[in-house]
């Protein structure tokens, strides 16, 4: 199979005209990615801060007031109201106006002073289990720290200030020091955007030729399947890479997400992953021959897995075995693995090469399948 660059060029130019003339594909190519970055970046924050707390203080002592004000001063909590009774607190939780209701029982300070157990009732709204469990962790460690402070005060007064707790964990968070989920979300959005541009858009391009009857013309022309598909893919490759750079830039400007690793490794990974998406989209388009069907299939096999089965939104470790196995064939899994390595861990090709190889293999298989399928269709 000889390859004539001029044939590739002619198809690429023609495809470029199609894109320019069709405002919907332009919107999909450029506006949608921007909307996604903004939407995911701002709305899909997996971080929990400023948890809303209401307090019912039956004790009304200096200590109970101190407890509440320290809670409010912490970055994790915000005291939204001090309520007269438990019923009111329950109502606030019901209405969703607070996530935590803290009920300090009567004679709480007295119990502490007399060295009896001093229970504190904490009600947590866990209708969003993620926020619920994170809030529980926050409040536990807050109470823990408050206890230590009381203990230290007590030891101080006893003149035993040099007494230390036997074990003290010195925790340091690596790779994403502020535990900001944005640092993790930006790579995920890029993976989703590439799938939209690469697979969703290209899933239309061959089907369109079938629907308009122009496939018959193509078959009668001296052009082979490889030239035709390559020409079709080129404009979308350029659009996809533009989107990657735009996402990178927006991630940096809007969310302050700065990539630590090599820029060129990132470009290499994006090119590979985008090529996988293009091959997939073209294959679907050839097989489906209808734009509507092709688009639905592309949505199911490219975009949704990239979003749901790639370790982006939902952690793969928590999935059932079967789904974990499925994630192994989702290209986004490997791309996101590379991007996390580059964005957060600043590791090089020495650690990341297996994922690069998998993407390369996926591209080879996908492109070969598309060319073979196209040849079977008489090109």
């Amino acid at each position: 199979m000889l390859i004539h660059p001029r044939n590739v060029q002619a198809v690429a130019r023609k495809e470029f005209y199609h894109i320019v003339r069709d405002y919907r594909s332009l919107y999909m190519a450029f506006a949608l990615p921007l909307v996604l970055i903004l939407l995911f970046g701002y709305a899909l924050s997996l971080d929990v801060d400023n948890v809303k707390v209401v307090v019912v203080d039956h004790d009304r002592t200096d200590l109970s007031r101190d407890f509440a004000s320290r809670l409010d001063a912490s970055a994790y909590f915000r005291l939204v109201a001090t309520l007269p009774d438990d019923r009111a607190a329950a109502a606030w939780l019901d209405a969703g106006r607070a996530t935590i209701a803290l009920i300090i029982p009567p004679r709480w300070t007295e119990a502490i002073r007399s060295n009896r157990e001093a229970p504190l009732q904490v009600l947590i709204d866990a209708s969003d289990p993620n926020i619920g469990s994170i809030s529980r962790g926050y409040i536990n460690s807050f109470v823990e720290r408050y206890n230590r402070r009381l203990l230290a005060d007590f030891l101080d007064r006893q003149g035993l200030e040099n007494l230390h707790p036997p074990v003290e964990g010195r925790v340091r968070v690596w790779f994403n020091e502020e535990l900001e989920s944005r640092n993790f979300i930006v790579p995920g959005i890029i993976a989703v955007i590439i799938m939209i541009v690469g697979a969703m858009l290209t899933s239309l391009v061959i089907a369109r030729e079938y629907e308009n009857g122009t496939m018959e013309t193509i078959r009668s022309l001296p052009i082979n399947a490889f030239e035709f598909l390559t020409g079709k893919a080129i404009p979308y490759f350029l659009i996809g890479m533009t989107d990657v750079l735009a996402a990178l830039l927006m991630g940096q400007l809007l969310f302050g997400v700065v990539m630590k690793g090599s820029f060129w490794l990132m470009i290499l990974a994006s090119s590979l992953y985008l090529s996988v998406a293009l091959g997939l989209g073209l294959f679907i388009s050839i097989a489906a021959k209808s734009q509507l069907v092709a688009n639905q299939i592309a949505l199911l096999v490219s975009y949704l897995p990239a979003l749901l089965l790639s370790d982006f939104v939902f952690p793969v470790e928590n999935m059932p075995r079967i789904l974990q196995a499925v994630t192994c064939v989702v290209p986004a899994t490997y791309y996101i693995d590379i991007l996390n390595g580059l964005f957060l861990r600043n590791v090089g090709i020495g650690y990341l090469w297996p994922s690069y190889l998998v993407l390369l293999a996926m591209f080879a298989v996908g492109a070969a399948a598309a060319v073979v399928k196209m040849r079977k269709e008489g090109l």
Partner: protein, 255 residues
């Protein structure tokens, strides 16, 4: 590369099956260089299937064939480079302008770039679309689009032009102009292979093959076919001959 003998197309026992269905059944004929060759038959007779085999779009199930000296099975790529083909359905890009469509064809046909300007001008003149060159093709009336399609099929100066029902849905005046143009092409030595329903058009052909249910039922000049199908009937028309041949019990009339 090109055979210099008189026959530009020759097929022998050409056959195409789709599963159990025999679309084209052992068809044999040949076409001389510079001929206008008509391919007639009712709908579903196998006209389009034959034309697509000759153009290298589909592979024959059996039989042999040469087009412009190239084998229809093994050298389809070379055939595509040498022929022009206009399919039944309009098949240019409607969201491109005539000039952009022309440019696409020029690229695929490997016309040298220095000739692009001259060939584009020629094509737009031929299609009489010079002032419409930058309008979108979808805005053109059907007859005009057809002229553009024809001009595109001629951009690389093919030796043979295949036209699959080029005049269906075209008004009589445009049809007459079209046939004048076809005769002009034949005068320049381009062979024209054309399928049609219209018997009055078929009279423009030097020779005709009539096929029915995938088989050749008559071959010859229009006069010869009338004489053979309606013996002793002075003033019989090609139309009468056609109807008689198509309703006759099957028997292959071979050359």
């Amino acid at each position: 590369m090109t055979t210099r003998n008189a026959e530009i197309v020759s097929v022998r026992d050409l056959e195409k099956r789709f599963g159990d269905f025999i679309a084209v059944n052992r068809v044999t004929f040949s076409i001389a260089r510079g001929e206008i060759f008509g391919f007639l038959g009712p709908n579903g007779a196998g006209k389009s299937t034959t034309i697509r085999m000759l153009c290298g779009i589909i592979t024959p199930s059996a039989g042999t064939g040469q087009v412009a000296g190239f084998d229809v099975v093994r050298q389809s790529e070379s055939i595509k480079q040498t022929i022009g083909y206009m399919s039944q359905k309009f098949s240019l890009y409607e969201d491109l302008t005539p000039a952009e469509n022309i440019r696409f064809y020029l690229g695929i046909y490997s016309v040298p770039e220095r000739q692009w300007e001259e060939r584009t001008r020629w094509a737009l003149d031929t299609a009489r679309l010079q002032e419409m060159r930058d309008r979108l093709t979808r805005e053109l009336p059907p007859g005009w689009r057809q002229r553009l399609a024809l001009a595109c099929a001629l951009l690389h100066r093919p030796e043979i032009l295949f036209l699959d029902e080029p005049t269906s849905g075209v008004d009589p005046i445009t049809r007459r102009r079209f046939w004048e143009f076809i005769r002009e092409l034949a005068g320049q030595g381009i062979t024209v292979f054309v399928t049609t329903h219209y018997m009055d058009e078929a009279l423009n052909c030097d020779r005709i093959v009539m096929i029915n249910e995938g088989r050749v039922v008559a071959i010859g000049s229009p006069g010869e076919i009338i004489a053979e199908a309606c013996p002793g009937e002075a003033g019989a028309t090609l139309n009468e001959a056609f109807i008689r041949l198509m309703t006759k019990p099957k028997e292959g009339v071979m050359e």
